[in-house]
């Protein structure tokens, strides 16, 4: 089964493996700002990261932190008419996607990079049979005949674990359960064997019991195909154990990033710490967690000066409200970077500032 899939993948891939040996995806200083009646929304504000082939990057942050905008920016799916001065580079196998027009991007979308969306109910076309929705990409990217595409669609439905795929192929999304729909969406996204899959909250809309199944399926398909994955969630736990690296986003910026184990073990940024210490809320419906800190993410039209987290940060000192901390590597591990003046593990802002102020007074 596994070999079959790989074999078909090889067959399908007319381009062949690229001989490019840098990182698969290299995002540099990405900026996505929207023009709105209220002003400019700085939804993504200078984000950089890299992702190697076959690896998984988790992106975590509260709702409204810019995860979705970031993921859509990668494929140029942001509303173009609203964009203000888009900056940065999105190097995919060394080619910059940012300046590409719709026509060029179409070769990349679905074929090289695919996306799956949060809610399979709304992301599948309600008046199109699921089989046809899978066939669309195959027909466009591989110029397949209807019959071949259909056969391949049935095959894909089987691969994503849908029972009796030969029947399901002719059903409409509303005839399937939520978990099945998400599997269909995965089948669509993987139909053209992309090298990178961006999964934007792939399980948030699903029942808790189905969540793990879908994530496990994604993991299996990923290793079968040696595919890189950007796994986005507002829930650190979803990303935990499944990502090689984790980036934490706050107010349009990456505030901490590093190897997953390191991030959990030596959390530096107080915001990450708060996410980690948030507790699942058993009584409320799934996906609700109580953040250990109060407040809401800032207004992205006019983010607060200094560290963007400072109005909510329990460790904030005077400096935090004035000067923005740079994204700098940790002393112990250069791969672990974060933005904070007074990281967890050291003195808090008020403590440090008091300590700094004292000797100065003595000098006078």
């Amino acid at each position: 089964m596994r070999n079959d899939a790989a074999a078909v993948g090889e067959l399908l891939d007319p381009v062949g493996r690229s001989d490019f040996d840098g990182p698969l995806l290299d995002v540099r200083d990405l900026t996505t700002h929207f023009q709105t009646p209220r002003g400019i929304v700085r939804a993504v504000d200078g984000v950089s990261f890299t992702l190697e082939a076959g690896r998984t990057l988790g992106i975590v942050g509260e709702s409204g932190s810019g995860k979705t905008v970031l993921s859509r920016s990668i494929l140029g799916l942001s509303p173009r008419r609203q964009l203000v001065d888009p900056q940065g580079q999105i190097l995919f196998e060394g080619r910059d996607l940012r300046p590409m027009d719709e026509h060029e991007l179409r070769e990349v979308r679905g074929r090289q990079i695919s996306m799956i969306f949060q809610d399979p109910m709304t992301a599948l076309n309600p008046v199109m049979k699921v089989g046809r929705q899978i066939m669309e990409s195959l027909r466009v990217h591989f110029d397949m005949s209807k019959a071949d595409a259909r056969e391949r669609a049935i095959d894909l439905l089987g691969q994503v674990g849908i029972p009796s795929p030969g029947v399901r192929v002719d059903e409409y999304p509303h005839q399937l359960s939520g978990g099945m729909r998400q599997r269909v969406m995965i089948a669509i996204a993987l139909s053209c064997e992309p090298k990178l899959l961006i999964a934007d909250e792939p399980t948030t809309a699903l029942d808790v019991t189905v969540q793990a199944q879908i994530l496990d399926l994604l993991g299996r398909l990923q290793s079968e195909r040696n595919m890189a994955v950007v796994l986005i969630s507002h829930d650190l736990e979803v990303v935990g154990g499944r990502a090689d690296d984790i980036a934490v986003m706050y107010a349009g910026r990456i505030v901490e990033m590093g190897p997953a184990a390191e991030l959990f073990k030596a959390t530096r940024m107080p915001y990450t710490d708060a996410l980690l210490r948030s507790v699942p809320n058993i009584e409320d419906p799934p996906h609700t967690r109580l953040l250990a800190i109060g407040g809401r993410p800032p207004d992205l039209v006019s983010p607060p000066p200094g560290c963007r987290f400072n109005p909510r940060c329990p460790r904030a000192g005077f400096r935090c409200g004035v000067q923005e901390p740079p994204l700098a590597p940790d002393d112990d591990n250069v791969h672990h970077i974060y933005r904070c003046w007074y990281p967890v593990g050291g003195p808090t802002g008020p403590e440090a500032e008091a300590a700094e102020a004292r000797p100065r007074r003595v000098e006078h």
Partner: protein, 300 residues
């Protein structure tokens, strides 16, 4: 309150505002003033027709010399095939066409408004009954219903207005019912009911004033529909009597001048009068609808 309901790009209100904002007629702009200006002009001329220094509509000018004459300074729109002064025909025609429009919609608005209020407020069986009656009124194409009535009843101003009033009734009833439904569920209505106010009083004092904007916006459109229908009936010989000046009759009797290429201005004058009036009414209807946020969905 769950802290994390993800907001997605697709539902960002700004996006929708940009897209849906195409020809919004929320503001009372130049277009609306032009529309009001035209209507004031036409209605003014129609009301003042007998006082205006123009020939009588059925006064043969210069022993027939004005027959099919082109527009000139002394006769602004020229003459028609009877050698009547066309401007005078248009002004007197406005009198009749607008009268039909006004009376028909007054009938439709009164009957339809009443039915709609009752159905929307009391709901239940009476609503089912009224809805069924309205559906049946809509079972005929409007113009066919109207021509059937005028053909068998007669062609007087009263019957023509009545026939066209009947076809505008279901339109006005539906919009009234839909709006009554929403307004009847508002707190102040429930509050009035809790205080023991009589239903009739609630309908008249609390519901009706709120439903009026919706009715008004549709009534403007209905007047336009009726004016067009009057002309349609005339062309079929089922409208006002042939000797009565009306925009429809002007077009009907100008047709020969158009097809023989000799006097197209007769048809064009009548058509122009209808076009600008309908355009103005539609435009104002849109303005009212946008102003009071009348749901278009309620129309179907």
């Amino acid at each position: 309150m769950p802290p994390d309901l993800p907001t997605d790009v697709a539902v960002a209100p700004e996006v929708i505002a940009v897209v849906a904002g195409a020809p919004s007629r929320r503001t009372f702009g130049v277009g609306a003033w032009l529309a009001v200006g035209w209507l004031v002009l036409v209605i003014g001329l129609a009301l003042l027709a007998p006082l205006l220094p123009i020939p009588k509509p059925s006064e043969i000018i210069d022993h027939g010399a004005l027959r099919d004459a082109k527009p000139s300074l002394s006769h602004l729109l020229g003459g028609d095939d009877n050698s009547y002064d066309l401007f005078s025909r248009i002004v007197w025609g406005a009198r009749n066409s607008l009268a039909v429009g006004f009376f028909a919609v007054a009938i439709g608005g009164t009957v339809g408004g009443f039915l709609g209020l009752i159905a929307g407020y009391y709901r239940g069986r009476i609503e089912t009954l009224i809805t069924a009656v309205l559906d049946i009124m809509l079972a005929f194409p409007a113009l066919v219903l109207a021509l059937a009535l005028t053909t068998f009843l007669g062609h007087s101003l009263f019957y023509v207005s009545l026939a066209l009033g009947i076809i505008s009734t279901p339109i006005l009833a539906r919009i009234t019912r839909a709006n009554t439904l929403t307004w009847s569920q508002r707190e102040f209505v429930t509050a009035a009911r809790a205080q023991g106010a009589k239903n009739r009083r609630i309908i008249v004092r609390e519901v009706l004033p709120n439903v009026v904007p919706a009715m008004a916006s549709i009534a403007l459109l209905a007047v336009a529909v009726v004016i067009v229908a009057e002309a349609g009936l005339s062309l079929l010989g089922a409208g006002l009597k042939v000797d009565v000046p009306s925009w429809g009759n002007i077009i009907t009797f100008g047709r020969s001048g158009l097809t023989n290429g000799q006097a197209p201005h007769i048809v064009f004058s009548g058509s122009g009068a209808i076009f600008f009036t309908v355009l103005s009414l539609n435009y104002l209807g849109d303005v009212v609808r946008a102003r009071f946020d009348v749901k278009e969905g309620a129309l179907t």
